[in-house]
Amino acid sequence: MDFGPFLFLASLEGLVQAAVLCLTALGLCLVFGVMRVVNVAHGEFFMLGAVLAWWITNLISTHPALGFVAALIIAPVMVGLIAFCADRLILKRLSYNPEATIVATIGLLYVIQQTVLITFGADARAVNAPFYFRVQFPWFGYSGYKLLVIVAAALILLGAWFVITRTRVGLMMRATQYDREMAQSFGIPVERVYTVVFAVGAMFAAVGAILVVPIRQAHYLMGLDPLLLSFIVVIIGGLGSIRGTVAAAILIGMSDGIISVFFSPTLAKMVSTTLVAFILVFKPEGLFGPSVVNFRIYPNHKGHKGYKRHLRLNKK
């Protein structure tokens, strides 16, 4: 295959990776942004989504599409319920203390992982795609399901963006993110918001896993990679920045996909982690993260509308 089509194929693979990563990282970003909780168990919610999808499709084996749709509805709800219970029984009792919740979610990681190992075993489980069709490009045919994953992820992200920026629930989440105490003083039930955000964050990871499980396989150790990549994405995008998370997920997903196809997956991981190191050194707040001071309000900042005037005056 020529370089051009090969690059196109690699880009498509990258887009699939980016789509799933967007969903997974968005969950982690929401939880950190609103609750200031570093959820180390986030990858296990991803794994749980995939394993439950396998279990549900096995129970409803009449038609792959029927089982898959049922999994897409039921598994995220089950994962959300588990996250809801984890929040109420563990995180709330720790008063959402940042240090204590890291240790608690590490514990949660092992509890979920080992429970899945005991219940479903150590074997990798395949899930059938809901349908099989190939989209024929001039140079190669490509899986229609993979293209559907990209479209589905984009639609879910659009929905999430709409809820966060255009609805009152989203406004409550953003207000809680900026000032918890003031949010309470204006009638926002902060602890309820936290519980919902933690559950929804886990559900995003589960949906990402369910979409990708027909391409990969469900396995009790599959949560580590998405967790690592999500942390990379959230750090590069800017902690708590949804716009940054989506941009970074596309960047990392695409580079990961392209480098994996042209070179090796190991090199792709090396590039991602090196990028994080550079970002941490040169732009610690991430690509779109809030800086400590909003420098744009000062005329000596490039983003200020009076910046040119400021330069002119300073020259004189």
Binding site: A175, Q184, I188, N294, I297
Partner: protein, 247 residues
């Protein structure tokens, strides 16, 4: 309207308020004066349920001490905190919507959609500069506009009791007049106002009574006319003793 009895407030194991008692009638403005660290801000935070407290706080006879913090604004208590504490990355309109939501725009409260629109209009009439900046992010407003927004946000919940914590902090003299006018307007509407302030002269003209706090206890409550009568002798006694300003 607001009655506080035997209130004790704590930060962890440290007790800040001790047997703090006050009462405030409808349409009354009470200023709380005291030195730094005397417990003025803690008194307001206690009413809002933001610190641990025991004792009794009632609004129109309804007990607040056992309520969760987020339920207190629904009883008609508005709070303008020290340092404004706006939701900095939200727009002016969004900050005001949060104020409107506090009285039950989301749930079954007094605030219906029509009433919310009307309230918003009334509040913007009090602070005209905000009307042209509804889509501007709060962090980019000037200090005076931010203070207006902090007050507007609290007024959006149609408060029966308004708690103001140093509303004149860092403001230029022309803004002080605006703040005083708004306080007077609210007073005429029957809103009970508890005002914490360091700049005594800035707020005395709008106050009915003054309470002096020392080491978390109310030491004296006097009518504002007592402070200015007798050629400043009483003025000196109270202000010098409790705030440490020589007149």
């Amino acid at each position: 309207m607001l009655k506080i009895e035997q209130l004790n407030a704590y930060y962890g194991t440290v007790q800040v308020l001790r047997d703090f008692s006050l009462s405030l009638g409808a349409g009354e403005v009470l200023c709380l004066f005291g030195r730094n660290g005397a417990g003025k801000t803690t008194a307001l935070k206690s009413i809002m349920g933001l610190v641990q407290r025991t004792g009794s706080i009632t609004v129109k006879g309804e007990e607040l001490v056992n309520l969760a913090a987020h339920l207190i604004p629904r009883r008609g208590i508005g709070y303008v905190p020290q340092g404004r504490r706006l939701f900095a990355e939200l727009t002016v309109a969004e900050n005001m919507t949060i104020g409107l939501m506090a009285r039950g725009l989301m749930t079954s409260g007094i605030m219906t959609k029509d009433r919310a629109a009307e309230t918003r209009k009334k509040v913007l009439a009090l602070f005209p500069p905000l009307a042209s900046r509804l889509n501007q992010v709060a962090a980019t407003l000037s200090g005076g506009e931010q203070q207006m927004l902090a007050m507007a946000r609290a007024l959006c919940l149609e408060p029966r009791v308004l708690l103001l914590d140093e509303p004149t902090e860092g403001l230029m003299p022309s803004m002080l007049a605006t703040i005083r006018e708004v306080i007077m307007a609210l007073r005429h509407r029957g809103v009970a106002i508890l005002l914490v302030e360091q700049r005594v002269e800035a707020v005395l003209p709008v106050a009915d009574r003054v309470a002096f706090i020392e080491n978390g206890r109310i030491k004296d409550v006097v009518g504002v006319e007592q402070l200015s009568e007798n050629h400043g002798r009483l003025h000196k006694k109270y202000i010098g003793k409790y705030i440490g300003i020589s007149q």
